[in-house]
Amino acid sequence: MIEKLKYYFAQSAKAEPLAAFRIFFGIMMFSSILRFWSMGWIEKLYLQPQFHFSFYGFEWVKPLGVYTYLIFFICALSAVLIALGLWYRLAISIFWLSFTYIELMDKTTYLNHYYFISVLSFLLLFLPAQRYFSVDAYRRPQIASKLIPRHSIDAIKALLFIVYFYAGLAKINSDWLLEAQPLATWLPGKYDLALIGSLLEQTWLHYTFSWGGMLYDLSIPFLLLYKPTRNFAFALVVIFHVLTRILFPIGMFPYIMIVSALIFFDASFHQRILKFIQNIFRLPSLPTHLPTSDKQQNRAFEKVQIGFITLLLISQLLIPWRHLFYPGELFWHEQGFRFSWRVMLMEKAGYTNFKIHDPQRGETFLVDNQQFLSAFQEKQMSFQPDFILEYAHFLEDHFCSSENRGDLQIYAESYVALNGRSSQLYINPKVDLSQEKRGWAPKTWILPFNDTIYGL
């Protein structure tokens, strides 16, 4: 076993796929940030709201007022440097830090694909993506190499494998497969699409898409890995993601996944891409005398890298299962729902109001959420327990300090509907949320789900 591993980690692979991946990644990230900025979302999501929802333990990560633009600028700039392969290690470090900082500023905007970018950029931190077809390699021939350790390409494949496969596993549940939910709710809403619009109301199509989506997610990593099916698999990737782009508001994610899937192709394919780029931009030819071994790197450093990569991948395998520590229906209480590649699984909506009781003054009143939250924040807060608790604590602090009140009791009146079911009471209305602590302990004040969803 040890021998096999040693042998594996000693293997080399051609550098082209990783170089092409680096370039695509940089371009994609740069355009994503540009798009985000041009939509006015920095202003709307990070500057306008007076309150921001934090991830537990990251309360110190907040938007920085007008300097928030600076973070986005730095992030975009580092993406360009990544694409160019200029000061790669520094650029990818800054990208990872700034991008992750942006995602941690307000969990209202949490998306699995943003998390994917954070994880992927952390992984890229440990991969020698600058050794070939980069400004770094051009300026410092001593680091340039036509070969890289084989595991540096395999690590990216492994991450993609986990993302797809886990997304597929999560779809094995009774709502998705037996009720075709939430697609049966979402698809008819797209009735106005040309050509397929009226189809989207058909029940058989909802089931076809549900089962097809599950089978796609579970099988696509295998089909991409196995050479004879690779071209077919990539065609599926394109069709699937283009379709999701048409049907759902998911921004850049489909393009990122399509481009990422190219990593599964052989070096010869990436060679042609690089040649193509070289011709367009009339880049100087690569030195022909590049070393064909990658032995020049510091062995100790490489061991540390392998350690980090292994840790990252193991954690990716384990983190999605943490919901097993929480009793009850995962979709309902959402403890352990994020960071586990559960995508497009739920149509969940809620309506949550807060009642504040001031025992000293004998007053009880409701809060107008729009006084403190943006419409987007209110929507997200209304069906996610950790948001509800954090906001309840904010309200306690706010009314204590701004109105000089003593100890307050905060109660939530919350109704939530999941995957087409009737709305039901969500939070125990008798529990004073000001007494409940944030953290990882099971949230006992969430009322049980009135139904059962079977599956993983």
Binding site: T185, D192, W204, I250, Y351, F365, L366, F376, V416, A417
Partner: protein, 367 residues
């Protein structure tokens, strides 16, 4: 290789398209006609409601000018009667905050209450007031007219005040004239261009007509009907009743009528009853029934209707003045608030989810 991908893609999409045609017959073909719903909303509800409202504010402006020119008890009674009619007509267009009404902040300029007596008194002595400033929301519209007609004292005191100080008459006419001008402008734009824009914006995006108007409707139900007319005066948001925050506070016995009108307007819109003859057309109710949305074993549309009826049955036995209810038997207002709140849950959670309508103003990505 790209060529191969492309042909594969074409092949797949073609087989996709073909299989559709065949199986289409056996499936339900009578797609709910959403563009017909927009046409029905525009032609049978929105336009007649605006026309009716516009006529009432034209008459209101006439009556106000007559009274201002020659204040008398008789003209005051005429004016107040017309004020009630116009305020009633307003309730039917208040939630239509879309297109020209939205662009001109029609609701904010027409019906922000409580109005500010102090600011009105300060403004009216000044001959060149600028009523188009947002800072003057609480110095104009129906609540300010309500103050001028009924807030200065009884009818004879009011008449005397108008006789002794022509500033009052001038300000009153300015207010009714502004209501008329805004209403005419909104109606004109609806008639000349916005109707066609409205009915052709049939998509399902957040800015499409259906989505926007449904959001406006629910927003109004929640914030104007539930909170504004009932919850805020009942002290739901403040801890103790605020009797002076009812709608038409100075006319005193008007608040229940206005509440009932507004509730009826919401119900008519939900059920798709036309404004003039109540003729039903494509509506939210029918849309929900078409999608066969059930809620705890009952049709969701029926639950919503029943919930509105429950609120109505509580409201209609209340005294006509909500400010006296707030002061004397506030638990009745709180009970009404609770019924309205139940309707909001059904509309905002269950109906929005069933119709897959995205909540307004949110255009960020999902995943």
């Amino acid at each position: 290789m790209m060529g191969r991908f492309l042909s594969l893609f074409l092949m797949l999409s073609m087989s996709f398209a073909c299989s559709n045609e065949k199986s289409g017959d056996s499936q339900k073909q009578d797609d709910f006609d959403r563009s017909a719903m927009l046409v029905h909303w525009a032609d049978d509800y929105i336009l007649p409601a605006y026309q009716n409202y516009n006529q009432e504010v034209i008459d209101l402006n006439d009556a106000a000018n007559k009274f201002s020119n020659a204040p008398s008890l008789n003209l005051h009674a005429n004016l107040h009667a017309q004020f009630v009619k116009a305020y009633t007509a307003w309730q039917w267009v208040s939630f239509l905050e879309i297109g020209p009404a939205e662009a001109n902040s029609l609701r904010n300029f027409s019906n922000i209450y409580p109005t500010s007596a102090t600011e009105i008194e300060q403004a009216l002595v000044n001959a060149n007031y600028n009523l188009s400033l947002p800072s003057t929301f609480n110095e104009q519209g129906f609540p300010a007219i309500d103050y001028l007609l009924s807030g200065l004292g009884d009818a004879s005191t009011t008449v005397n005040q108008f006789r002794n100080n022509t500033d009052y008459g001038r300000y009153l006419s300015a207010l009714t004239e502004r209501l008329e001008a805004m209403s005419s402008q909104v109606l004109n734009i609806w008639q000349s261009s916005y109707r066609n824009e409205f009915i052709s914006n049939t998509g399902s995006s957040a800015t499409a007509s259906t989505n926007k108007l449904i959001n406006d409707f629910i927003y109004h139900f929640e914030r104007e009907l539930r909170a504004g007319k009932v919850g805020i005066p009942a002290g739901v948001f403040s801890g103790s009743p605020l009797a002076q925050n009812v709608e038409a506070y100075y006319s005193d016995s008007l608040s229940q009528t206005l509440f009932m009108e507004s509730l009826n307007a919401h119900r008519a819109f939900f059920k798709g009853s036309g404004f003039l003859n109540g003729a039903a057309g494509n509506s939210l109710e029918q849309y929900l029934n078409y999608l066969n949305i059930e809620n705890q074993g009952e049709l969701l549309s029926a639950k919503i209707s029943n919930q509105m009826a429950a609120a109505e049955s509580l409201a209609k036995v209340l005294p006509t003045s909500f400010s006296s209810v707030a002061a004397n038997s506030n638990q009745d207002l709180l009970a009404l608030y609770d019924e309205l709140q139940k309707a909001v849950v059904l509309l905002k959670v269950d109906m929005l989810q069933a119709l897959n309508v995205r909540v307004d103003y949110i255009d960020a990505d999902g995943d």
